[in-house]
């Protein structure tokens, strides 16, 4: 039953940030944290310069280069690609000139913006967080309202620390029960998108809940929320709980002392009330979710690893032609078992799966094993601190012994803006978030999956069910 005063988590965070409301419902929303990277910000800073405006709250603005930076060990010698170098230099200049918080390329804290924010304690429950990047949804794992914006909006936030917004609808995605062994957060979110489609969340903010979600670590929750955008929702949310507080406590920019107590007291009020109104509800059984991979060129093309490549005739409407195009692009024949698909490359990293827990999961599979002949592998930690942690645990050696390249932090082959790209026709088991045409390189072929599944595929030389081959 819906009650008038009952609110969702999204409603509560929204209400706490409304600065001004127009008669037509258009609101001015206050932004607590603005994350900035080099690709979507230069035109915004230039806009400020041209209009003589300044950054309203530089202490709430955190800049870090990630998309263009080389991940090779010689990067301290500078960026070879001129356009990339100009873009990173522009961020460096803009960050210093406008006085925002900044982690340059050679700072150990540099990394993918969505990994750095939580790691440094900039991202806290109940906040509004934006960035000129669609994977800003990641921060929703903390119970923060976080979403991507365009460059015009980046300029708007820089100048005013607010965003003009209309409220989205509320969608609940519940994953009940427990996950089977070998099934991870990545499998859960791919299964959700496979179920709802890439436009299933359009116009909505998704709150992920249920026992299976509750049981995830913060790393796993970030993986889930990260891909909310792949399901069409600008933002995903998970209500903060003790797991969240434990992760946040002690981070450099987390509140301390009495402020910590006050913050936690407020954070504990951040949950969806019984009787709150949901515009859309989707429920999945955690026990039903298998290790999941994508076969096509949309994240909704997700299937259990036990399935076969579908045929265009399995679909209806515009998806028939899209599936035909995908199969052609991916070089796949309907009816082929997914486990028969041979791969050429493995990419472990990205804002979806570039955190320490992801590297541990992949390393666990790879310990004492090596990449199949002819398969190349690359591990790109999500931040300098993730890399340092992994090296302290000896994971770098596990990867190197298995035949992987061990790299420096950045977005890397998730989108290949730096030299890390697939060659035409090359097929990759990737822990990233998008399998779009050309995403990882011109004519490159991407299969999305979890770090354990990607590592296992690397060892086998083809897609493989991690539970069968390497199960305990």
């Amino acid at each position: 039953m819906t009650t008038e005063s009952a609110r969702t988590l999204y409603d509560k965070i929204w209400d706490a940030h409304v600065v001004d409301r127009q008669d037509d419902g258009t609101c001015l929303l206050y932004i607590d944290r603005h994350l900035v990277h080099e690709v979507t910000s230069p035109q915004a800073f230039e806009g400020l310069r041209m209009t003589g405006r300044s950054v309203r709250a530089p202490e709430r603005t955190i800049a870090v280069p990630d998309h263009n930076v080389p991940t090779t060990w010689d990067r301290e010698n500078g960026i070879v690609n001129e356009e990339s170098r100009i873009q990173v230099d522009a961020l460096d200049k803009n960050a210093r000139e406008f006085g925002v918080v900044y982690y340059p390329v050679n700072d150990i804290r540099q990394g993918i913006v969505h990994i750095v924010g939580p790691e440094q304690g900039w991202t806290l429950p109940g906040m509004t967080v934006v960035c000129g990047d669609s994977h800003t949804a990641t921060h929703g794992a903390f119970g923060a309202l976080a979403h991507g914006i365009g460059t015009s909006e980046v300029e708007h936030v820089l100048a005013t620390q607010t965003l003009i917004q209309k409220k989205s609808r509320n969608m609940k995605v519940e994953v009940t029960g427990r996950l089977a062994p070998g099934v991870t957060a990545k499998d859960v979110v791919l299964a959700i998108i496979g179920h709802t489609g890439t436009a299933g969340g359009t116009g909505h903010v998704i709150e992920y809940c249920g026992e299976a979600i509750r049981g995830l670590s913060m790393e796993g929750r970030m993986t889930i929320c990260n891909m909310a955008i792949e399901g069409g929702a600008r933002a995903g949310l998970i209500a903060p709980d003790q797991t969240t507080f434990n992760y946040v406590k002690g981070r450099p920019h987390a509140p301390k002392g009495a402020q910590w107590e006050a913050a936690v007291a407020w954070w504990k009020t951040l949950f969806s009330d019984d009787g709150a109104h949901w515009d859309k509800v989707v429920t999945l059984r955690g026990e039903d979710i298998a290790p999941t991979v994508t076969w096509g060129t949309s994240p909704e093309d997700a299937l259990p690893i036990t399935a076969t490549v579908p045929a265009p005739s399995d679909f209806s409407g515009g998806k028939v032609e899209a599936a035909r195009r995908s199969l052609d692009y991916m070089g796949l024949t309907p009816g082929t078992p997914l486990t028969d698909i041979a791969i050429d490359a493995v990419f472990i990293g990205s804002c979806t799966n570039g955190r320490i827990e992801d590297l541990r999961a992949a390393a666990q599979i790879l310990r004492g094993r090596t990449l199949a002949p002819g398969v190349r592998g690359m591990v790109v930690p999500g931040s300098g601190l993730v890399r340092a942690q992994a090296e302290e645990e000896g994971l770098d050696q596990v990867f190197k012994d298995a035949g992987f390249e061990w790299r420096l932090a950045g977005c890397s082959m998730c989108l290949g803006m730096n030299p890390d790209q697939l060659a035409p026709g090359e097929r990759c088991a990737a822990t990233s978030n998008r399998n779009f045409e050309g995403r990882q390189g011109y004519k490159g072929r991407t299969h999305l999956m979890s770090p354990a599944m990607a590592a296992a595929a690397g060892v086998a030389g083809h897609l493989v069910d991690v539970r069968e081959v390497f199960g305990d």
Binding site: D24, Y30, V39, P42, S134, A159, T198, T202, E321, L415
Partner: protein, 201 residues
């Protein structure tokens, strides 16, 4: 930002569903620090071969559609990355209006910031407009923002919904940062209040 009032022009049919922003403007063109000049690379990997030669089958390479100002697209146009380079590339090519059954949220927003009108219509209406667009250069479609209608070359009209505030900004070519700056006192009041109630932020 240029005003958008009424547009009569050639519409290009792109029935493919889930056209993402990586397709609209691939990553290698995001390295610019300017907003202009992206039109030549609009839909780059669908439009050119590896050597930069035009692929004759691609709709915008066909003589009838080289001057298109409208795109009639399949479901969920503009999904994926938040890159505003996508509307910048469309605009630079000359596209001022995209019509579909649905758009991804961030792309939809970004259009309004750049004087591009995204029009959402039901599948039956988009089907009719897609057929009209297939007629080529002689069939000019009219998009009237003031009256919120799209009219085919043979006079069939469809009414569409648009957010009143966004309509107002588009009709008048308004810069919304300027509008928000006028609300600086309200922002200041909010910040003062939050410094008291949530000082850790």
């Amino acid at each position: 930002m240029d005003k958008f009032t009424t547009l009569t022009g050639i519409a290009a049919p792109m029935p493919l569903v889930n056209i993402d922003t990586d397709m609209i403007i691939p990553k290698q063109f995001l390295k610019t620090i300017k907003r202009s000049g992206l039109g030549v690379n609009l839909f780059d990997e669908m439009r050119y071969d590896r050597n930069g030669n035009e692929l004759p089958d691609f709709v915008l390479n066909q003589p009838a559609y080289r001057q298109a100002e409208i795109i009639v697209a399949g479901d969920n146009f503009g999904c994926g990355s938040s890159r505003e380079h996508a509307p910048w590339a469309l605009l630079d090519f000359g596209i001022r209006c995209v019509i579909s059954t649905s758009f991804a949220d961030i792309f939809f927003n970004n259009c309004f910031k750049n004087g591009i009108l995204p029009v959402v219509l039901p599948p039956e209406a988009v089907d009719v407009l897609m057929e009209d667009a297939r007629k080529g250069a002689n069939a000019r479609m009219t998009v009237d923002l003031e009256n919120q209608t799209v009219t085919t070359s043979d006079g069939v009209s469809f009414a569409f919904e648009v957010d009143p505030f966004r309509k107002h900004c588009l009709l008048n070519g308004l810069d919304d940062i300027g509008l928000t700056m006028e609300k600086a006192p309200a922002i200041q009041t909010y910040e003062t209040r939050m410094a008291q109630s949530r000082p850790w932020v």
